[in-house]
């Protein structure tokens, strides 16, 4: 039984109290017989960047995938506990997983644009919803690409294959693609781990922009990135949530010893 975590205050500096966007309570997850997540409880704030850090294999990716039920795709996965988004438990029986995944977008570690044109990649989500009018699609594509800070670079290449872009551009394309279906939450699983520093910097700038509109949860093994970009940070270790607090506090004055040891690089 983990001791009660100190949750970050939901009272902002201007006095407004916000409801947590995602409220996870007592989440456990098993891959077959082996347990991967142990009694996780956490509140994710809306329109903030929350970063998950921790050594490899500690369960951060597994956890983030529970937030849009991508773990359902793996055989033998079992979960207990609740994950409530805007108050609704997404593991309840009546939930439409398809619209959940539209509302909770995901960016993967290895960018995965479809083997279609840039335009078609971004338009994919809206086409799924039945949108066919060329003009409206054009607007959606342009808006999403601008939000992802990619428009200027690809506006003349919309019909070229998406796979001909550079690594950083492809990742931003995936972000644009996710934004095109107008989600509320963006989950990013190590989005820049495969990118060079310049591309990484661009993505990080993007996050600062995006958090004005979207709730962002980012998994990263790069502590400095978490420190740069996030408002809240959670430290995971071996499937347990060790500490979750404002980033400033985690990195300057963490409460748990393990957190401190990880931050200072005693283990990794």
């Amino acid at each position: 039984m983990t001791d009660v975590l100190r949750q970050p205050s939901l009272r902002h500096s201007n006095g407004v109290v916000s409801e947590p966007k995602i409220r996870v309570q007592n989440l456990n997850l098993w891959y077959g017989d082996s347990q991967a997540l142990f009694d996780i409880s956490i509140d994710i704030e809306p329109r903030r960047v929350s970063a998950f850090i921790g050594p490899s294999g500690c369960g951060k990716s597994t956890f983030i995938r529970t937030l849009n039920r991508m773990n359902d795709l793996i055989d033998g996965v079992r979960t207990t506990g609740t994950v409530a988004i805007d108050g609704e438990d997404i593991y309840a029986g009546a939930i439409d997983v398809v619209s959940l995944r539209r509302n909770v977008g995901m960016i993967f570690q290895k960018s995965n644009p479809f083997p279609k044109s840039v335009y078609e990649n971004v338009a994919y989500g809206q086409r799924l919803l039945g949108l066919r009018e060329r003009q409206v699609l054009d607007e959606v594509v342009e808006r999403s690409l601008r939000q992802a800070a990619l428009w200027e670079e690809v506006k003349d290449r919309l019909n070229e294959p998406a796979l001909s872009l550079s690594g950083g551009q492809m990742q931003r394309l995936c972000i644009a693609r996710a934004l095109a279906v107008e989600p509320n939450i963006l989950l990013m699983d190590e989005p820049s781990s495969a990118l060079d520093p310049i591309a990484t910097a661009k993505i990080e700038e993007l996050l600062v922009e995006l958090k004005q509109k979207y709730t962002i949860v980012i998994v990263t093994h790069n502590m400095q990135q978490a420190a740069r970009v996030s408002d809240y940070t959670a430290f995971f270790y071996l499937g347990k949530l060790i500490e979750f607090d404002e980033t400033r506090k985690i990195f300057t004055n963490p409460e748990k010893k393990q957190t401190e040891e990880y931050i200072t690089g005693r283990f990794g």
């Binding site: 995901m106 995965n112 479809f114 083997p115 989500g125 995936c174 996710a178």
Partner: protein, 558 residues
């Protein structure tokens, strides 16, 4: 030594050598087929031999087709001089089958006393009795008009022949399209009448309606008969114009000075091979090739063209591919994407792989039992009961033959599609699902388009395998000679219950089932060459399509 082996260079040479051997064998086979196949169209020169056999001397005129060493028994029997070089004998086509009874004779080298190449020797290809060889003596150019001078006769003949040929072609086209259309409609009415009789007998029809309709049909038939008469008259008048021209040809090999009378209308082509110029030879090649590709066969498939077989082969391959590919792709989709991995799926996969190794004749028997008798018989009793016991779909036809071959090639498609689906990276599927697509939408919009190059590979392999199989076809719908094509201008245009001709079967038939084997060897080679060319063409177009798709979906597996 060990180090030399470990170096690996020797294996480069070894593998290269075996590859070279394979290429040589394939190329050698292709060259053999091409050379012999093209030689079939060559206008062989006509030689005249004076042969002494026993005490008799004989004059023979004909084209030398091949030569070989005389077998020992013949040398002994004939008492030829066994010392020195092995004597050769020559296969000479002397033609004039209506006089001599056989097309070819063997002429033994040692028995030849004299041999020359007379410049005016003529070869005439005819619509019956094969070729005629000889010298033109005179031409009957109408009643009481004989051209007796050899030179004038040949000139007159060439003009007359052209005119007669036009008339003959006109007659043929009237017979084929107009008369053919008429008899088709007559047949339709006859079948309708049979159906009416049947319905009346089974009380499915009011007697009044029966009488009314039967009278209508009788009226129509009277009209058709009248049309038939008119067409027949037209044909008769054309025929009258084309008859009356007879060539007198002085031949060799029988009585000295013997002549034969050949009606000009029965002559398909005539030429003087000994004096043909290069241009004329090229023209000859072109004309023969065109005839081969577009004409119907003559003389029990030994002469003429193979157009119906080309048509039948291509149509069958297309139907087979249309049946096999969607079936195979959907099966593979289910196996790979939807079925839970377990004993069931693994068993099915093993079964599919083994199916690919079953001998094709077994598929033929299955096709006969299942498609022809069971399903075809069922269709007949359901939809065409009035025609029984004469079967419509309950007998072999192009539909059943194509479906049987489709079954044969489905395992190939399934395996290739499964490989293509497996090669698509998981990330692509997850990316689509994370955007709110269902599994089917992901398959339809992302997975299948990316897998298309691999699926096409499967389709190519299937086409190549299916186009070459002959055994299952023989029992499910291929015939030696089909009078109608399975696709024509009459509704419903596709007549899938008709029997058809097939190039592979044609090769077998021409090479082994005809009486005049020596004459046909050339045609066997040519038909083989044609079949190879068609398969190559089909594969090439599929490969080009696949290359285009690959460029579109590059960086994704296959």
């Amino acid at each position: 030594m060990k180090r030399y082996l470990a170096n690996g260079e020797i294996y480069i040479w070894l593998t290269g050598a075996f590859l070279g051997l394979s290429i040589i064998m394939i190329a050698g086979m292709l060259v053999l087929i091409s050379v012999n196949g093209i030689a079939y169209f060559n206008p062989h020169p006509i030689d005249r031999f004076m042969v002494v056999e026993g005490g008799d001397s004989l004059n023979l005129l004909g084209q030398v087709y091949s030569s070989e060493e005389i077998p020992q028994e013949v040398i002994d029997a004939k008492g030829f001089d066994p010392t020195g070089e092995s004597p050769m004998r020559y296969l000479v086509r002397v033609g004039n089958r209506e006089v001599f009874g056989q097309d070819f004779v063997w002429i033994n080298g040692p028995e030849i006393v004299a041999q020359e190449r007379p410049p005016d020797a003529i070869c005439m290809e005819r619509s019956e009795y094969g070729n005629a060889y000889g010298f033109i003596q005179s031409l009957e150019a109408g009643p009481d008009r004989m051209v007796n001078n050899e030179v004038d006769a040949w000139d007159a003949f060439t003009t007359v022949h052209e005119r007669v040929m036009t008339l003959v072609n006109q007659i043929r086209s009237i017979e084929k399209s107009d008369l053919g259309g008429l008899s088709y409609r007559m047949e339709e009415y006859r079948l309708e009448k049979v159906e009416l009789d049947y319905d009346l007998e089974h009380q499915a029809l009011d007697p009044q309606d029966y009488r009314r309709r039967t009278e209508e049909i009788a009226e129509e038939l009277r009209g058709l008969d009248a049309e038939f008469e008119t067409l027949q008259q037209a044909i008769d008048s054309l025929r009258a114009l084309s008859e009356g021209y007879v060539v007198h040809l002085r031949i060799f090999g029988g009585e000295p000075g013997e002549t034969v009378r050949i009606p000009v209308s029965s002559i398909v082509r005539s030429y003087k091979p000994n004096v043909m110029t290069m241009a004329e030879v090229a023209g000859f090649y072109a004309s023969k090739t065109w005839e081969f590709l577009s004409d119907d066969p003559r003389e029990a498939n030994a002469e003429g063209g193979v157009f119906p077989a080309i048509f039948g082969t291509v149509m069958m391959v297309l139907i087979m591919t249309i049946a096999a590919v969607p079936f195979g792709v959907l099966s593979a989709l289910y196996l790979r994407e939807y079925a839970a991995d377990g004993v069931m799926v693994r068993t099915v996969r093993i079964a599919v792989n083994n199916l690919a190794g079953v001998p094709s004749i077994v598929f033929g028997m299955f096709g006969l039992g299942f498609f022809v008798y069971f399903i075809g018989g069922g269709i007949d009793s359901l939809l065409y009961p009035e025609r029984l016991p004469s079967p419509t779909y309950g007998t072999g036809g192009i539909l059943w033959a194509s479906l049987t071959l489709a079954l044969l090639t489905v395992p190939v498609v399934i395996v290739a599609t499964e490989e293509a689906l497996a090669a698509i990276p998981r990330g692509m599927r997850e990316g689509s699902l994370a955007l709110g697509a269902t599994k089917w939408e992901t398959i339809r919009r992302v997975v299948l388009p990316s897998a298309t190059p691999g699926i096409m590979t499967g389709a190519i392999l299937a086409m190549a395998r299916g186009a070459g199989e002959v055994a299952p076809l023989m029992i499910t719908g291929v015939v030696k000679l089909a009078t109608e094509l399975p696709f024509d201008a009459h509704f419903p245009f596709f007549h899938l219950d008709r029997k058809f001709m097939h190039l592979g079967f044609h090769i077998y038939d021409v090479g082994f089932q005809t009486s005049n084997v020596e004459a046909n060897i050339g045609m066997v080679y040519t038909t083989t060459l044609l079949l190879l060319a068609i398969i190559l063409l089909l594969n090439l177009s599929a490969i080009i399509i696949r290359a285009r798709l690959r460029r579109k979906y590059r960086l994704v597996g296959f």
